[in-house]
Amino acid sequence: MAVTRAHPPFDPELSAALAALPAGLNGQLRLDTIADQRAQIAPMLDVPDDLLRRDGAVEMEERQVPGPAGAPAVSVLILRPAGLAGPVPGIYHIHGGGMILGNNRTGVTDLLDLVEQGVVVVSVEYRLAPEHPHPAPVEDCYAGLVWTAEHAEELSIDPARLLVYGASAGGGLSAATALLARDRGGPELSHQILLCPMLDDRGITASSQELDGEGVWDRNANLTGWTALLGADCGGPDVSPYAAPARAEDLSGLPATFIDVGAVETFRDETIDYAARLARAGVSVELHMWAGAFHGFEGFAPQAAVSRDARAARLGYLRRALGS
C-alpha cells in the first residue's frame, strides 16, 4: 500500500522509554487479535475503588443512566471532591482505547488531582467496536452528556462550565460529541479538550503513514481500530462526521478547544489540520505539538521532561479556562 515515510526523531528520553516497552503492544493489533488484546490489557485497566477515593478526598459513584433511544443504559462513573459546597466546573470524560478497548475508569486517574482541587468528573462507558460499530459509541457518549447536563444541579456542576475531555479514541469521540451537541441544539459545552485525538478514518495524511511497527499506535493498529468502528465503510464516501470528525465541513460554533498531539504519531497531521480549521472557523484554539513525542507518551514516561511540560500545559489551560 502506501510507502512508509521518514518520521521526525523521537525525544531522547522517550526513545529510551520506547525501547523499554513490552513488545507486541503496537502493530500486532488486528481484528482477529482484539479479544486477545483485551484479555492482555484487562489487568492493567483495573482501577481499584481505593485508588479513586484517595483516602476519602474523593467521593466515587457508579450510576446507570438512560442511553440512546432504543439502546441499553449507559454506565457513568462520578467523581466529586468530598465536602463539596457549591457548583464547580464539570469535566465529561470519554476514555480512549482505539474504539475497541477500555472502560469508564480508563484514564480517569489523571483527573483525580483536579477533582481534589474542585472539579466534578463524569466518565462515560460507551459500547465498544467491533461488536458495536458506529454510531453506538458516540451516541452513548452523547446520551451520557445529556444526562449530565440535565442533572448538573444535583451533581453540583456549574452548567456554564461543563466541558468534554478525552484522549485518543476518547479525543475523537469528544470532538464528535461536541459536533452532536452543536447540531442537536445542546447541551452547551464551554470547552473541548482533545488529547492526541483519533479524528480521521481515511488515512490520507502524511503522518498517518509514517509509522509502521514503530512508536505507538502505528498505521496498522489505526486501520484496525477504524475498521472495527466503520466496517466496510471505512475510508469510503459514506462516513459520518460524527464518526470521523475530520470529515465535518463546518467547524464554526464549536466550543473553545485545547488540542495536543505528539510530533511522531499517526494522528499528528489530522490533529494539526483540525486545529487550523477550527481557528479559521473562528473558534478559540490552543494547539500543542510535542517534539519527539509518540502517542500516549505521557502515560508511558510520565517523569520525562516533555511529559511534565505537556501535563503543565494542559493544566495551565484548564486553570485559565475554568477560572480557578
Binding site: 525501547a19 492493567m44 502517542h295 500516549g296 502515560g299 517523569q303
Partner: protein
C-alpha cells in the same frame, strides 16, 4: 490507546533488574540525551532523588523521582555517590537515607558513565570564539578558577600545553587555528596556539611564547611579547626575522625584558641609524653579516657576489668604526642590531603586558 499503556510505565522503579537499568541508560546514550535526562533516569529507576555536581563546569543538578528539578542542597555524607574522574570533586549521587538497594550501585555507575559521555560530547563541539575568554586566559591577575573555566569553554584540549602568540594586527592574516582563539590586547593581537599547531609558517609578524599548561598562559603571553620586541619587520630599514620563538632566544630574552628606551643611548645603535641614512643597502647587509656564520653564506642570502659583499663589508666596518670580521666585532655588530630593534620596538608592546612581572621594563641600564 493512551491510558491503557500508561500502566506499563517503562520506568517502573519496582523492577530491580540490572539488565533493564543498563538497557535504559544505553538507550539514553544512543539517543544523545542530555545531563538532566540522565540524572532523571537515575532518580526514577532508584525511586529516590539523584544529583550531579561538577564544579568546573558549574553544574549542580538534583532531580526527584517524579522527574522534577529540586533546588541545590549540600550533599549529606551518607548518600551513596560515585566520583567522576576529574580532580575537582565532581560526582553523582543518590539520596537514599538508609540501606542501599541492590541496584543502587548499578544505577550510579551507569549514571556516571552517561554523564561522562555527555560531557565529552558537549565539550568537543565547535569551540566558542570569544575574545573575552582569550583575554581572561592571558591575564595573570585573573582568578585561576575563572581561567580554567575559560580554557574549558574555549575548547582548549585539557592537560596539553599551549602557546601564546603576539602579533601585529593588519600586518598579514592570521591562520584560522590561531584566529579562532584571538583577541586584541593593547595594539597587538593575542592568540593561543593549541598543541600540534606550532604556529609555523606564519606570514604575520609575531612572537611565540613558550609551551605552558593553559593555566600558565599569562607567562607564555609575556614570553611572546619578549620575543616580538626582538623581531624586525623584514624591510630595508628594519631587517630581521619577522617571527621569533621565545624558546630560541636564550640570553636575548633577558635583554628584551630589561631594556627599552635605554637602548637608544648605546653609540653603536646611533651609528647604525646614521649609516642607514647614508647607505640604503647598509642595514640589510649588516643584518645578513650578523646572522650568518660566514661571509660566503651571507653573500648567498643577499644574492650578491662574494667579492662584492667583501668590499661592502669593509665599507661598513669603516663607517661603524669597528671591525666586523672578527669574532668580537661580529658579536658587537649582532648586539648593536638587537639593541636597535629593541629601541625601535619600544612602543610596540606598550599596554599589552598583562602579566605582572617582578622586573619592570622601564628600568634599564643608564
Amino acid at each position: 490507546m493512551r491510558e491503557l499503556l500508561g500502566r506499563l510505565s517503562a520506568l517502573d522503579p519496582g523492577a530491580e533488574n540490572a539488565v533493564r537499568v543498563i538497557a535504559h541508560f544505553d538507550a539514553l546514550v544512543e539517543a544523545h540525551a542530555g545531563l538532566e535526562a540522565f540524572v532523571r533516569a537515575a532518580a526514577v529507576l532508584a525511586a529516590c532523588p539523584a544529583g550531579l555536581h561538577h564544579p568546573r563546569r558549574r553544574l549542580h543538578l538534583r532531580v526527584d523521582p517524579d522527574g522534577g528539578r529540586l533546588p541545590p542542597v549540600e550533599r549529606l555524607p551518607d548518600w551513596p555517590g560515585q566520583p567522576l574522574d576529574t580532580a575537582d570533586g565532581a560526582l553523582v549521587w543518590l539520596e537514599r537515607p538508609g540501606p542501599a538497594r541492590a541496584t543502587d550501585a548499578m544505577v550510579l555507575e551507569r549514571l556516571a558513565a552517561g554523564v561522562r559521555v555527555v560531557l565529552e560530547r558537549t565539550r568537543s563541539r565547535a569551540p566558542r570564539r570569544d575574545p573575552a575568554l582569550v583575554e581572561l586566559l592571558l591575564d595573570g591577575q585573573a582568578d585561576a578558577d575563572d581561567r580554567a573555566r575559560a580554557a574549558d569553554q574555549l575548547g582548549l584540549p585539557a592537560g596539553l600545553p599551549v602557546r601564546a602568540v603576539a602579533s601585529i594586527p593588519g600586518d598579514a592574516p592570521l591562520p584560522e587555528p590561531l584566529h579562532r582563539w584571538s583577541t586584541s590586547v593593547g595594539r597587538l593581537t593575542a592568540s593561543i596556539a593549541a598543541p600540534g599547531n606550532s604556529a609555523d609558517h606564519l606570514l604575520v609578524r609575531a612572537g611565540i611564547g613558550p609551551a605552558v599548561p593553559p593555566v600558565d598562559l599569562p607567562r607564555s603571553w609575556h614570553g611572546a611579547l619578549v620575543a616580538l620586541r626582538l623581531t624586525g619587520d623584514g624591510s630595508g630599514t628594519h631587517p630581521g626575522a619577522r617571527v621569533l620563538r621565545h624558546d630560541d632566544l636564550g640570553g636575548l630574552a633577558l635583554l628584551s625584558e630589561t631594556l627599552g628606551a635605554a637602548a637608544a643611548n648605546v653609540p653603536d645603535v646611533a651609528a647604525l641609524t646614521r649609516i642607514a641614512e647614508q647607505l640604503p643597502w647598509a642595514l640589510v647587509t649588516l643584518d645578513a653579516l650578523a646572522e650568518h656564520a660566514s661571509l660566503r653564506r651571507a653573500a648567498t642570502a643577499l644574492h650578491v657576489h662574494h667579492s662584492t659583499l667583501q668590499e661592502r663589508a669593509g665599507q661598513l666596518a669603516q663607517a661603524l668604526g669597528f671591525p666586523i670580521d672578527t669574532a668580537a666585532g661580529h658579536n658587537r655588530l649582532y648586539l648593536a642590531l638587537v639593541l636597535r630593534r629593541l629601541h625601535h620596538n619600544g612602543d610596540l608592546t606598550a599596554h599589552s603586558d598583562t602579566h605582572h612581572h617582578a622586573t619592570e621594563r622601564t628600568t634599564g641600564a643608564g
